[in-house]
């Protein structure tokens, strides 16, 4: 009996001591659970857990606005997760992370040796709002890619457009076949600004103009900016973008495009992953063979009145940050660094490349298993001579939130470009005043 009790106690104490030695790490992670590559992603996190039994990884997985809302709630409650997905600038929930330095500088934590594995632009701290390496950009994000259904167009005898006039001319020819011209699901409010309007502003005004508006030297009510908003209004009036896109949830886009409901979809480069083969089910929204032959990634056509032809909005990509609430040198901090090194390591980066999630900033990541869309994207990048700002990366949230809602209002015909510009300027004036 005594022996039995002794062994039972040992069996109880050993796991408890292991648990006691475990470091709990709360990780708020961002991924679309319905997108191809989700299962592979989770399998790699399981590998991390198996390789690090001393870390009790508590993952919370969210996507899109739900993620931002939750992170904002955590920040407000003073319960920031230990590690979180974040943006390099003031996009949504990341605004406070940068402005209040709620995350650590990763440079000393990751070390020079580790960081030497990444391309130099990824380490440019000026690209981040907090001017430190708050997160290590996992990729460079081109937020405007015009995914094109070449086959659909060629079947209808329509050439790929090089100008806006050509785009407008194809509207009736596509509509007779019940096909939208451009799909831009803007139900979540941010895509129209991030994926289209940022490029329009870059082409018609340029980055220098945005820098001036942030210092009060020019105003949104100036004719040049109103003209950019008018161009978006024109796209809706011409039928190039159907107003129904304003009520379309962002997640609906890939399915509709793959089903041939639109000739083009404007989305960010990250979305190419939505069309790739899901390893678990073996199904793809667009089969690999069709990706190569039937589709293309185009730059947005020439805009009337543009001064910077061909520029496309781009920004340093997202990445993981570590909460500054974690004591320096603690076990938790070391565990968080190990998690980041795993995330940015060669194995995980290769998996992300293969599943089309992003093109990593880590050097030397290649694979022979890439689907055509993933190999086509770097070719698209190389066709872009110059990039421009993504507006939600350089404007204060109080200003770009007004813009996001304003673009929806313009599309619905509820407000004029001048009205939206006036509202934006009011928000900008309030922000400039608060900074004095």
């Amino acid at each position: 009996m005594k022996k039995f009790l002794f062994f039972a106690l040992v069996l109880l104490i050993v796991p408890m001591s292991l648990i006691a030695q475990q470091t709990t790490l709360n990780f708020l992670y961002y991924i679309d659970a319905t997108q191809a590559g989700y299962d592979e992603d989770q399998a790699y996190w399981q590998k991390f857990k198996d390789a690090n039994p001393d870390i009790d990884l508590q993952m919370e997985i969210l996507f899109s606005q739900a993620y931002h809302q939750k992170l904002s709630a955590y920040i407000a409650a003073g319960q920031l997760p230990d590690v979180m997905y974040m943006w390099p600038t003031t996009r949504d929930s990341s605004a406070l992370l940068h402005s209040q330095k709620l995350v650590k500088d990763l440079a000393p934590l990751l070390g020079k040796d580790f960081l030497s594995n990444f391309v130099a632009p990824a380490l440019n701290v000026n690209a981040q709002s907090s001017k430190m390496l708050a997160e290590l950009p996992q990729s460079f994000t081109y937020t405007t890619v015009m995914y094109s259904n070449k086959k659909l167009l060629s079947d209808l005898g329509i050439p790929l457009p090089k100008t806006y006039a050509a785009l407008k001319a194809m509207v009736p020819k596509l509509r007779v076949k019940n096909v939208q011209t451009i799909l831009l699901p803007d139900g979540d409010q941010w895509p129209a600004q991030s994926c289209l309007f940022s490029t329009v502003v870059g082409r018609m005004l340029g980055d220098a103009w945005i820098d001036k508006v942030n210092t009060g030297k020019v105003k949104f009510t100036d004719p040049a900016f109103v003209a950019a908003l008018k161009f978006v209004q024109t796209m809706f009036n011409d039928g190039v973008i159907n107003w129904s896109n304003i009520q379309q949830p962002y997640g609906d886009g890939p399915g509709l495009f793959a089903a041939g409901k639109a000739a083009f979809i404007i989305d960010g480069d990250w979305r190419q992953g939505a069309y790739l083969t899901d390893k678990a089910s073996g199904k793809a929204l667009i089969e690999p063979a069709a990706q190569a032959t039937d589709f293309a990634f185009l730059n947005f056509p020439a805009i009337p009145g543009q001064i910077n032809p061909g520029v496309v909005s781009a920004i340093a990509g997202v990445g993981l940050g570590i909460s500054s609430a974690i004591p320096a040198g603690s076990d938790k901090e070391k565990a968080a660094v190990r998690l980041l090194k795993w995330y940015y390591g060669p194995e995980f980066s290769q998996m992300k490349l293969e599943t089309g999630a992003f093109i990593p900033t880590r050097k030397g990541v290649t694979s022979e298993k890439l689907e055509p869309f993933t190999t086509m994207m770097p070719q698209y990048y190389s066709s872009i001579a110059k990039t421009c700002y993504v507006l939600d990366g350089v404007l204060d949230p109080s200003v770009f939130n007004v813009l996001n809602a304003g673009l929806q209002s313009i599309g619905l015909g509820a407000k004029t470009p001048a009205q939206v510009a006036a509202e934006m300027q009011k928000a900008m004036d309030a922000w400039l005043k608060s900074k004095m």
């Binding site: 904002s72 406070l96 509509r175 509709l256 939130n401 509820a414």
Partner: protein
């Protein structure tokens, strides 16, 4: 005398021993947050040290001033009033009528109808919101049904034109007739509808009649898209409909349970004396339930002013914030983008004030017109 004093002291002790735990809980969970909220709404506190904010101080009614000056606040308030109106003047009367029909066995299978009408109240509002969002979506069920109907109607008109022309004989008169029956909104994509349509139509050969018909329906027929649901005021209609559908069953159950407390003999006597069902409902049942109706109205009002989950799941307050209600307006100010906690607290308190006003009005109405149970 001494015994009485001891007795009273013991009674007091027992009273506080029983009340104190709940009272302390109420203070910390209910009263304290309300007091803090009031203080925050009168200050410039925006996160304090954690957010590197300036030293907080009382700024008076500054936030309330901002609130009143913001057109979005008035839109959100108006939307909330719509919800209150549909709840009080929709859910309650409907719930009462349905309960009466089941109570008086005017409809058969009362238990079945009870279950069917109550079911939406027990399903997660998030699920319901997403479901109705899909139904009302531009590519949803309603749009699909309506577009098929419009396509059919346009197709008939096109057939008449083709019959009159003896087939696909593309003349100027033919094109004019096609333009005349086309949806004006569909024609907006053309700079010169007649000329551009003519260019399109001449490309079809007589053997492509079916293709021509299908293509013209796609291009020129009226499309039912819920564009009108993107306009302020009108955009609230689906939400009001779903609110009515969701919660009427709850009040049905409430009224039905209370109707069963009414002495059946009184109703029998009234029926024997020749009273109709309408008279029974108006003069016996309704007065007998006046207290319950008032309480239900209070629940309605407080629930309506708090409504968040259903509207958030259905529209997210959009598009372009036209379906925002006060709770969503408060949420976006507190947690979206650049948080503004003092303003969010001011909004929260404005919700409380409106609730009190509406409940006060309800109580006044009851005093004046309420029956005796």
């Amino acid at each position: 005398m001494a015994r009485t004093a001891v007795y009273r002291r013991d009674e007091k002790r027992a009273y506080w021993a029983m009340v104190l735990p709940a009272f302390i809980l109420y203070l910390f969970v209910m009263a304290f947050p309300i007091v803090i909220s009031i203080i925050l709404s009168l200050s410039n506190f925006n996160g304090g040290k954690m957010f590197g904010g300036e030293h907080w101080r009382i700024t008076g009614f500054q936030q309330y001033g901002k609130l009143v000056a913001d057109p979005q606040f008035w839109l959100a308030l108006k939307n909330n009033i719509y919800i209150v109106l549909i709840s009080v003047f929709g859910q309650l009367p409907l719930g009462f009528v349905f309960a009466y029909l089941i109570y008086r066995r005017i409809v058969k299978f009362g238990d079945f109808w009870q279950g069917v009408l109550y079911m939406p109240a027990i399903i997660s509002v998030i699920v319901l919101g997403i479901m109705w969002n899909m139904i009302f979506a531009p590519s949803g069920l309603i749009a699909d049904v309506m577009n098929k109907w419009y396509a059919n109607a346009f197709s008939h008109k096109l057939d008449e034109i083709l019959r009159a022309a003896g087939g696909l004989n593309v003349t100027d008169a033919f094109v004019h007739r096609v333009v005349d029956v086309s949806d004006p909104v569909a024609l907006k994509i053309f700079h010169d509808p007649f000329m551009e349509l003519k260019d399109i139509i001449v490309a079809y050969t007589p053997g492509q009649l079916e293709v021509f018909r299908s293509d013209m329906v796609n291009l020129l027929s009226h499309k039912w898209s819920p564009e009108f649901l993107s306009k302020a005021d009108v955009a609230m209609i689906p939400i009001m409909f779903v609110t009515l559908w969701c919660w009427t069953g709850l009040y049905l159950i409430l009224f039905l349970a209370n109707m069963q407390k009414i002495d059946a003999a009184i109703i029998e006597a009234a029926r024997i004396d020749g009273a109709g069902e309408g008279q029974v409902m108006a003069h016996i049942v309704l007065p007998g339930l006046s207290g319950v109706i008032v309480n239900a109205a209070i629940l309605c009002i407080s629930g309506s002013l708090n409504s968040f989950a259903l509207i958030w799941a259905m529209t997210g307050g959009g598009p372009a914030r036209v379906t925002e209600v006060l709770s969503i307006y408060m949420y976006t100010n507190a947690f979206h983008g650049a948080p503004h906690y003092p303003l969010a607290n001011a909004i929260a308190l404005s919700i409380v004030v409106f609730s009190f006003i509406l409940i006060g009005v309800t109580k006044l109405v009851e005093k004046r017109y309420g029956g005796r149970e």
